[in-house]
């Protein structure tokens, strides 16, 4: 006969909401933790310098008379067109700053969980592997979009405001889409790049070093190979070159390297697919004994 037990507890009376974004608490916690790092806050502030410079450029472009003494022969630089936006999105310092943000903010996203065995706590809750990866991706997306999509749209808006006309949008109606497209491309790439390397080690410091050296290393490898063989296709080895090549095409500009830009898209896509496959294998709730 079944034991009769004292039902002394009472269940929670509140309504349990079936959340559409079960990963959201992971994202908010992650972002909050990142902003607690003092050094990071400084770097974060510095990473907006390119956007501010470009904003000043837009302002100056509308007040050419006032800034004539500064621009002199460089008026072409302040021509606000898709090339101006492409130059922002493919700017070496901007890409480098994004890598540095990944190094200092996002290196531990998965490696810390692996180190602290936190995955088993997450996966003992109503949170699937996909939700977990989405939650972590959203943290990276937050930072990348803050440096790409938001400044890109702000630059367009300020251009319209300073010019007092819709001339830019009328001339290039696809420009906002290009801004969104390149921002998404950069976001997807940095999500895959950072999460992949973060999942490869339990040690955040190793991941930080990897994030930095892989980015620089691929570019150095390209520079060396290109200087020896004079073949532009070696740019496919470089993360930076591929992002710049793809970015140029999205903004309707001539690609910086002499090979079809589709190849760069292919390299980025292949990299992301491999990263997704590895993440699928690396992220699991329990240790696998070998």
């Amino acid at each position: 006969m079944a034991t009769i037990r004292e039902q002394g507890y009472s269940h929670w009376d509140g309504r349990l909401i079936e959340r559409k974004r079960p990963w959201w608490p992971l994202t908010t916690l992650g972002i909050r933790l990142i902003f607690r790092k003092k050094n990071f806050r400084l770097l974060f502030a510095l990473s907006f310098i390119p956007a501010v410079v470009y904003l000043v450029g837009i302002y100056a472009s509308e007040r050419m008379e006032d800034f004539k003494f500064m621009v002199r022969g460089s008026a072409q630089l302040l021509k606000i067109d898709p090339a101006f936006f492409k130059s922002y999105f493919t700017l070496d310092p901007l890409l480098f700053l994004m890598v540095m943000l990944m190094v200092f903010a996002c290196a531990g996203l998965i490696s810390d969980d692996l180190k602290h065995n936190a995955l088993q706590l997450y996966f003992a809750r109503p949170l699937g592997k996909r939700d977990y990866l989405l939650g972590k991706s959203a943290i990276i997306a937050f930072f990348v979009l803050l440096l790409t999509l938001i400044p890109g749209l702000v630059l367009i808006i300020f251009k319209l405001v300073f010019a007092g006309s819709f001339g830019l949008v009328r001339s290039y109606p696809w420009l906002p889409l290009a801004v969104i497209g390149d921002s998404l491309l950069l976001t997807v790439f940095f999500v895959c790049y950072t999460l992949l390397l973060s999942a490869l080690s339990r040690n955040r410091r190793y991941v930080m070093v990897m994030l930095f050296t892989v980015y620089l290393g691929t570019d150095i490898a390209y520079a060396i190979m290109h200087s020896i063989f004079k073949n532009p296709y070696f740019a496919l080895l470089s993360i930076k070159a591929n992002l710049q090549q793809a970015g140029a095409v999205l903004f309707g500009q001539r690609p910086p390297h002499a090979f079809p830009a589709g190849l760069s898209f292919g390299v980025i896509l292949a990299f992301c697919l491999i990263a997704a496959w590895i993440l699928q294998r690396r992220v699991r709730g329990v240790e696998v004994i070998k």
Binding site: Q7, P25, L26, L29, H116
Partner: protein, 308 residues
Amino acid sequence: MTAVLEARHLSKWYGNVLGLSDVSLALEPGITGLLGPNGAGKSTLMKLLTGQMKPNLGQALVRGERVWNNIPLFRDIGFCPEADAFYEEISGWEFLTALVRLHGIGRAEAAERAEKALGFVELLADKDRRIRGYSRGMRQRLKIAQAIAHDPAIIILDEPLSGLDPLGKRKVIHLIRDYGREGRTVLVSSHVLPEIEAMTLRVVLIHQGKIFAAGDIPYIRDLIEKHPHQISVRCDRPRDLAARFVGEECVLNMSFGPEGRSLLLETFKRDVVFGRLPGIILETGIRVEEITSPDDNLQAVFDYLVGK
């Protein structure tokens, strides 16, 4: 009645290492102790029952539903893993609130529940301290808090008492017993047998990935008929007592304890011996200090079952 937790011919192996072999088990509300030495397969069984691992063979069921990849079921399960699993840089309260929120509970409600759970494990005073500064016992209690904070009906605790001081152990044992009394299904593992004994009489003995026995401790003890029961009588004249028992057929063997202050009787008929003892004591006037059954505990049962 459908069992709350059920394992049906569960098997799990890691490469060439067998973790669990053809384990079948059905658990109902109340506390069940999962006992076994290190590497016996306790954690593997718990991880399979909490849906964290996919079995190679068989099924792990919660309320009759397969638990693997059945994410909605996880709302009603509280799991306390054996290993530490903390973000060291945040406070215990933040850690707990974040985990409760993953159950789909809103921010305010999660904060309230986290605070309540911290109160249960008596960590409320240290809730704002960073986990890095927590002692081993506090970390252990925090792990238990995260397993109970969302008020689950099923609580699975992997070695919850390890690292706790005696006072901390007592508190956690009381807490677990309260949960068992409330009708929740609690599965608690340990390799320290007296700890389980203090919580429940219902045990599952596991060794080398197999269930050796399952049931109440006295029931399991009765299963082991080939091993005689032991009765120890600590008294002032154990040899006189032995002389009276020599003629009793119910006694198989006798020996004297250290310093000659106790008599150890071995018998298949424990009830007969216990029935005879008071009369003999009264007749001989022996002053008895203590009567115990040294093998009527889990360690003895476990030793018999694993063939020690």
